[in-house]
């Protein structure tokens, strides 16, 4: 059995270092994490992306003793690996290595964290890739990730949460190596981080870690607070018009004044799972949009940030956030141009499925708000979560990561505590949470779509025009009365749209 020990060790200096330990006597692998409590919210104005650059130069650079290529040579036979995850309020370095190599790998790990070389060449290499990401890759590689990042830009406009952690075109180009060095000194300090260790390690390993980490700068950084944003007044839509988009990718969001810190989060989790559990077919949004109508690949809702939803089936650790929001993710739906090409009978359609899909999602949510969950739905969803949350921590990396995140939310062990909270929950708790936190009248919506779709879709949304669902004849012939009557109610469902703006893809993340 794995023993979990969480301790607060005195570093011997003026401050206390937080150490989270996960003893695994049978493990052959070790995982060490350094979580710095600064993230992209610490980026200076005009240098957005600097925390990311700094972290990446450490992760992809050398140490005082070894160049990046030297490090690659040394760790090659060990197959050790390390990576960094940068979010709004955290930077987490994760080192994974086999216990056979603990002595050989330790100085490399420590050199990277406490004594990075910050060479000009490493900096240029990292910055060039970062620039390509903000200039090109985010716009061109996945419309759904694009719509998600653009929605954050829209929702948090004017705050330190607005910019992508990678920054934007102008700010990245303004970042210099001197900025990186100064940012490291000011923010990656010994007063500003948490250590996590999992595996079968000797006690002396921790002692050595503590001593060596005292070499980090002794500065107490001024970490800005996460923004408290106003609830939007009505629904504001931003349509990003992109040449050659194949579908319409949709993301919505509105601020949510609750996090894992609050016990009530468990109740909201049940409600959200019922409405739109990530990548699961059990939930309402998936059922009505994908399963019954096959409008796209999937539809989900979120009550906290979900990192890389396109790639992850389970929520990764390392992204603790204080400024939270509710989101609906509607994966790309068909546009008129494509429908016309595919089906003769749809040659006259003017707008694709985006407007209908948004109506369908919000109407489904509205039903949940008005009716609440039934006792049976509550029981089933709670039972699902009670088992499912165990999968979040099925490997040591995530187990350790979730323990460390727990501390950021003022908890000891979030998954354990969540299990306990779920077990004492009542239907009334869930329905109260729905009434308190869920609504459909105020939000930001971002849609990435083709140039040909942008104008007609904007008109349709702006004027609340009816948006009948355009099925192919083949599918239409077999639709049940129930589906058809739901469709009729959905196509005229009034959305509280206040503004619709079309933005050229070239003008995003400038």
């Amino acid at each position: 059995m794995k023993a979990i020990i969480i301790s607060l060790l005195l570093s011997g200096f003026i401050m206390a270092q937080q150490v989270v330990e996960l003893k695994q006597p049978n493990a052959s692998k070790m995982v060490v994490k350094f979580m710095f409590k600064n993230g992209s919210i610490c980026d200076p104005q005009g240098k957005e992306g600097l925390t990311y650059t700094t972290s990446q130069v450490i992760n992809n650079g050398g140490t005082a003793e070894l160049t990046y290529s030297d490090i690659q040579s040394k760790i090659y036979p060990m197959a050790s690996r390390y990576s960094v995850l940068v979010d709004k309020e955290a930077v987490t370095f994760t080192f994974q290595f086999h216990k056979d190599w603990i002595d050989e790998f330790y100085p490399i790990m420590m050199g990277l964290i406490t004594n990075p070389s910050f060479s000009q060449a490493d900096f240029e290499r990292v910055k060039n890739n970062q620039q390509a990401y903000v200039d090109q890759v985010i716009r061109a590689s996945s419309d759904e990730e694009y719509s998600k990042k653009a929605m954050e830009d829209f929702l948090f406009r004017g705050t330190n949460y607005q910019h992508m952690v990678e920054g934007n075109s102008a700010s990245v180009s303004a970042i210099t190596l001197e900025d990186v060095k100064a940012h490291y000194k000011d923010f990656f300090t010994r007063n500003n981080f948490m250590i996590g260790i999992a595996g079968n390690y000797p006690e002396s390993f921790i002692e050595k870690l503590k001593t060596d980490l005292a070499n980090l700068p002794d500065i107490r950084p001024a970490i800005p607070t996460a923004p408290a944003i106003q609830m939007p007044d009505g629904i504001d839509v931003e349509i990003i018009s992109k040449d050659g988009a194949f579908g319409s990718a949709i993301f919505t969001g509105y601020p949510l004044n609750i996090t894992r810190t609050d016990d009530e989060f468990a109740a909201l989790m049940v409600a959200n799972s019922y409405l739109g559990e990530h990548r699961k077919s059990y939930s309402k949004l998936y059922k009505v949009i994908r399963e019954e109508r096959s409008m796209n690949y999937g539809d989900y809702s979120y009550i906290e940030w979900y990192h890389n939803g396109g790639g992850n089936m389970l929520p990764p650790s390392g992204v603790p956030r204080q400024s939270n929001y509710f989101a609906v993710w509607i994966r790309p739906v068909q546009i008129a141009k494509q429908l016309k090409m595919q089906y003769e009978e749809l040659k006259d359609v003017n707008v694709g499925h985006a407007h209908f899909a948004i109506r369908m999602a919000l109407r489904e949510m509205d039903k949940m708000i008005k009716n609440g969950l039934s006792q049976a739905d509550f029981e089933a969803t709670r039972a699902f979560l009670q088992s499912y949350i165990r999968l979040y921590i099925k490997n040591p990396d995530q187990q350790l990561g979730y323990l460390m995140d727990s501390r950021r939310y003022g908890r000891e062990n979030y998954i354990e505590e969540l299990g306990a909270l779920l077990s004492t929950l009542t239907l009334e708790d869930v329905n109260n949470a729905i009434n308190k936190y869920f609504q459909i009248d105020n939000m930001k919506i971002t849609i990435v779509t083709d140039v040909s779709e942008a104008e007609p879709l904007a008109e349709s949304l702006k004027n609340n025009l009816p948006s009948s669902m355009s099925y192919s004849d083949l599918v239409k012939a077999g639709l049940s009365e129930e589906i058809l009557s739901e469709d009729a109610a959905t196509e005229n469902f009034k959305l509280n749209v206040k503004s619709v703006t079309i933005v050229d893809s070239k003008d995003t993340f400038k």
């Binding site: 994974q96 060449a121 890739n129 796209n296 690949y297 088992s387 099925k394 083949l474």
Partner: protein, 435 residues
């Protein structure tokens, strides 16, 4: 039992025993007990993928059929199936590739019997309404639509279409778009497809986690005993030898310039040295520790990324080398540098030191990866669909120990031949222009 004594040459790479049990109908049941308290991974791997799509007009069908497997039976119609699956709290899904389809549920071991019941029911008694079939095709189109936003995906689709002439690897697992649009018309074919492949001789049950083999075997007997074997064998067209260099270009300036070099490779084998030697060679040539990577990515900064290797497949597929560029003007330079590095090994071989370090790297990479039941189940599934036997995992890793300098030279000469090459590029130009 948990320790990975990696340096002992005579020991299995998987430090846990693999239990195998064969039902009378031919269904193989594989169990690996693993220290994951309360948790079990339940997998079924079916040896059917886009490789099996031999008839015209049905490319993408293996993947589409994977979607249909969630559309219910008489006992568990779609809604009931979803409801029971939800109750188990398992992470359940499926995915399809060139050679196989994998269905998986990972969750609370207390529900293992329920998982067996649900899976055996749909594998034996799948029965969906025709309308559901037509509707589900739209979700596949949605999946294609999401993927198509990515230029690399678009290039990959053209690449395999160019590199292969007759083998079914010519189309991607998603299939050609016109076939996807036509899917709703293929209801009758879907019944034939199920009848052919969803049979015990094409399938293997794999259970990893907090379980014992006896219990798993008993459940398999209880739930899969009545599954009738079939008699279908597919004839896959044999790809003729490629005799000249080919090229495909995607004009697209929206992402950094990209080039991939694709040599025809070998099929997987756990007894012939070729694939194991190729893994060692491509790790030496293209990993972050390689001379090429250090030169082109780190020092000269011509590339943003370099990587490459052969995929383990039933039939000969592609050795794929990928490079992301700062400037398209370096396409030819990088192509030549890669050729020079390969030629150097053809002639001069590699040092004993790098050979040993690479073997160490491959073994430690695997040892570090097996930290949860899903990783182990997925690994076993791979070797099952490649060879029919999960022990092939251990055999293949022991082959790495046998790779010699001469083997490295041999595969460098045998496979990296320009007549077997397809060059794929993306840049803002109308043509790729790489020789």
């Amino acid at each position: 039992m948990m320790f990975v004594e990696i340096n002992a040459g005579d020991q299995n790479i998987l430090p846990y025993p693999i239990h195998q049990y064969k039902l009378a109908n031919g269904l193989n049941v594989v169990t690996v007990p693993f220290d994951s308290p309360g948790l079990a991974a339940f997998y079924i791997v079916v040896s059917v993928g886009s490789r099996n799509e031999v008839e015209p007009g049905v490319t993408g069908f293996a993947h589409f059929f994977e979607h249909m497997m969630f559309r219910g039976t008489d006992k568990y119609p779609r809604e009931k199936y979803t409801e029971v699956l939800k109750m188990t709290g398992a992470g359940a899904n499926a995915n399809t590739s060139l050679d196989r389809t994998i269905y998986h549920m990972t969750g609370n071991v207390d529900y293992l019997e329920k998982m067996f019941e649900l899976e055996s029911d749909r594998f034996m008694n799948l029965n969906y309404p025709e309308h559901d079939f037509k509707v589900e095709a739209g979700a596949v189109k949605g999946e294609y639509t999401k993927n198509f936003a990515n230029p690399y995906q678009r290039l990959y689709e053209s690449l395999v279409n160019t590199a292969f002439d007759v083998h079914t690897y010519k189309h991607t697992t998603m299939g050609f778009f016109e076939d996807i649009v036509d899917m709703p018309n293929q209801y009758e074919y879907s019944k034939i497809f199920f009848d052919r492949y969803y049979r015990p001789e094409y399938s293997t049950v794999v259970v990893v986690g907090d379980v014992i083999a006896e219990k798993v075997n008993a459940l398999a007997e209880k739930y899969f005993n009545n599954w009738k074997p079939g008699d279908y064998t597919v004839q896959i067209p044999v790809e003729p030898e490629q005799n000249e260099k080919r090229a495909i270009h995607l004009p697209d300036g929206s992402i950094p310039p990209f080039m991939s070099l694709n040599y025809k490779g070998p099929s997987f084998s756990d007894s012939k040295i070729d694939m194991a030697a190729l893994d060692v060679l491509s790790t030496i040539l293209f990993s972050q520790n390689s001379e090429l990577y250090k030169k082109l990515v780190v020092e000269e900064q011509k590339l943003r990324f370099l990587g490459g290797g052969a995929m383990n497949t039933r039939d000969p597929y592609l050795i794929n080398i990928q490079a992301s560029f700062i400037s398209k003007d370096d396409f030819q330079y990088v192509r030549d540098e890669i050729s020079n590095a390969i030629n150097d090994i053809r002639t001069n071989g590699v040092s004993q030191k790098i050979l040993e370090e690479t073997k160490s790297n491959l073994k430690y990479s695997f040892a570090m990866s097996i930290d949860n039941p899903d990783v182990i189940a997925n690994s076993l599934c791979q070797f099952i669909y490649l060879t029919g036997d999960p022990e092939a995992l251990n055999r293949f890793y022991s082959l790495y120990d046998k790779v010699t300098e001469d083997d490295i030279k041999m595969v460098a000469n045998k496979f990296f031949n320009d007549n077997r090459l397809t060059i794929a590029t993306i840049s803002e130009d109308e043509k790729g222009g790489v020789e």
